[in-house]
Point group: C2
Chain length 105, copies 2
DNA sequence: TCAGTTGTTGGCTATAATGCCAATTAGCAA
DNA sequence: TTGCTAATTGGCATTATAGCCAACAACTGA
């Protein structure tokens, strides 16, 4: 197996790993309904706001959600609408990540 | 959020977590093509056989794969054929787990 | 400016995951 | 039985993850 293939599996695993937590799955489920701010998500989850903020960082770094600050609140929303599709979703996120990287670099 | 809902998210997370590793994703991809024994998977992954065996345990305990011993070899295969579907796949695994539990208990 | 609110980050501890080697189990074949 | 191969399990060290509190940053509004 070449290093390119390995990198592909590592990237896939990162996205899936980002989803592999009850609170983060809950966040994703909530965001399917529409954007929510950290405060709302924190109330729903019932953990410390710092904990929720870190969960959101994980999802953001995996390319699953995006954030937008409006006033005091930071609103989070799904970056990729497909949640019912598994690998096609993972691939779409990876594609989206790649495109975002291309836009930066 | 009630405890039933929490349990549902924990169960989902367990299945996703089982997939959240490059080697395990590779194993799943291989098993889409058909069953394979631990020896074949070990050669492909290039890790110690004990490591691969433990990865397979994780997948088995999550209900993603099943094993069958034939002679010296243990053959692993996908328990749920859908890999392209994400949550529908997770749900199918959970349903399958529940049915298996019902068959035991 | 000052106080209040929302989020993020740093630091810390506790827990879980990873992967190796060594030892063991299980089956096959002389 | 003896030797060989396939796979699992135990033990261990290393690393990653989780979640709390405290501190800080960013914005609002009096």
């Amino acid at each position: 197996m070449d290093s390119k293939t390995q990198a592909r599996y590592r990237a896939r695993a990162k996205v899936i790993k980002a989803m592999a937590h009850p609170s983060r799955l809950l966040i994703i489920d909530q965001l399917i309904e529409g954007e929510q701010c950290v405060f709302e998500l924190t109330e729903m989850i019932g953990a410390d706001k710092s904990t929720v903020s870190k969960h959101l960082s994980v999802l953001r770094e995996a390319g699953i959600v995006q954030d937008e600050k409006r006033g005091l609140q930071v609103y989070y929303s799904l970056r990729v609408p497909c949640i019912t599709n598994f690998f096609s979703c993972v691939e779409a996120v990876l594609k989206s990540n790649t495109e975002a990287q291309g836009a930066i670099g």
